[in-house]
């Protein structure tokens, strides 16, 4: 017997809002990035589970999940490059202390 689909969906909902909580509460840029990773993973679980349960003969949700992983990897590299650059210019990566775009 399989795990019911609601179990997966409840799990991904909870994980998504854990990510949202972290996104609001964190001050550190890297912490915010980690919360975004949690959110993306929760969404990815949903894509894969819907593909498995609703449409198993084609691979639409599966491929979408794969491309989400690719885009998340690219997004993380660019975000980390920006964070390192911000740290070099301002010696700080807390969102409260980053107030100007141009120096």
């Amino acid at each position: 017997m399989n795990v019911p689909v609601e179990f997966y969906l409840v799990l991904s909902t909870l994980l998504f809002f854990i990510g949202v909580y972290g996104f609001i509460v964190r001050k550190n840029l890297i912490g915010i990035l980690m919360s975004i990773e949690l959110i993306l993973n929760a969404v990815n679980i949903n894509f894969v589970v819907f593909n498995r349960f609703l449409f198993p003969e084609k691979l639409e949700g599966y491929m979408y999940g794969l491309f989400v992983i690719i885009v998340a990897a690219a997004e993380t590299t660019v975000a980390i490059a920006i964070i390192i650059n911000v740290y070099r210019n301002m010696k700080n990566i807390d969102v409260d202390s980053i107030k100007e775009l141009k120096n």
Binding site: M1, N2, V3, P4, V5, F7, Y8, L9, V10, L11, T13, L14, L15, F16, F17, I18, G19, V20, Y21, I24, V25, K27, N28, I30, G31, L33, M34, E37, L38, N41, N44, I45, V48, V49, R52, F53, P56, E57, K58, L59, Y62, M63, L66, I69, I70, V71, A72, A73, A74, T76, T77, V78, I80, A81, I82, I84, Y87, R88, I93, D94
Partner: protein, 183 residues
């Protein structure tokens, strides 16, 4: 009692273990004050999600999850933390008011989503042979490389160009050439 035995199958037990790991470490990852520990907890969460994909018998996406997320992104995050902050340095204390506001936002979101989810009434497919069938690599390769309907050559190529652009972009942003020329 009957309810309990109906839910205690091997699949469900594995699912509950994985779900407990994901939720506990996910929560720890957003609440811990030490940022390096948060990265470690994130690693456990990503690992358990790969286990979830294996439970759905999607091996390839589990492997991709392990190699790209657990192997790549977490290592990148740890490198960034070590480059940016001193080891073990704590993040600033978060005020209670901000925590409260975020918790209210998150909990109200959870309530709304769960009400919608259980109100929808999903029909669970009882003939479950189809749901545990493996997807073999040949199918995945043809789906990625074909140009017909339900085949994804164009997104695949777009993803390669996109990754190249991201590599160049992050190198340009991180090296900060202008400043060093002036010096």
């Amino acid at each position: 009692m009957e309810f309990l035995t109906a839910y205690l199958t091997a699949n469900n037990i594995i699912f509950f273990i994985l779900a407990a790991i994901i939720l506990v470490f996910g929560f720890l990852s957003v609440t811990t004050t030490k940022i390096l520990r948060a990265a470690t907890y994130l690693f456990f969460v990503l690992f358990a999600i790969a286990g979830l994909y294996l439970l759905l018998s999607y091996e390839f996406i589990a492997a991709v999850q392990l190699s790209v997320y657990a192997g790549g992104i977490v290592v990148l995050l740890v490198f960034a933390i070590l480059l940016v902050k001193n080891l073990g340095e704590e993040t600033e204390k978060v005020s209670c008011q901000k925590k409260l506001v975020s918790a209210i936002a998150a909990i109200s979101g959870v309530v709304i989503s769960l009400v919608t989810l259980f109100g929808f009434g999903f029909q669970n497919n009882e003939s479950a042979d189809e749901l545990t069938a493996n997807v073999n690599m040949e199918t995945i390769g043809q789906t990625l490389m074909g140009v017909d309907k339900y085949q994804y050559l164009l997104p695949f190529e777009a993803a390669s160009v996109f990754l190249l652009a991201c590599i160049i972009g992050s190198v340009v942003v991180a090296t900060n050439l202008k400043k060093e020329d002036k010096k």
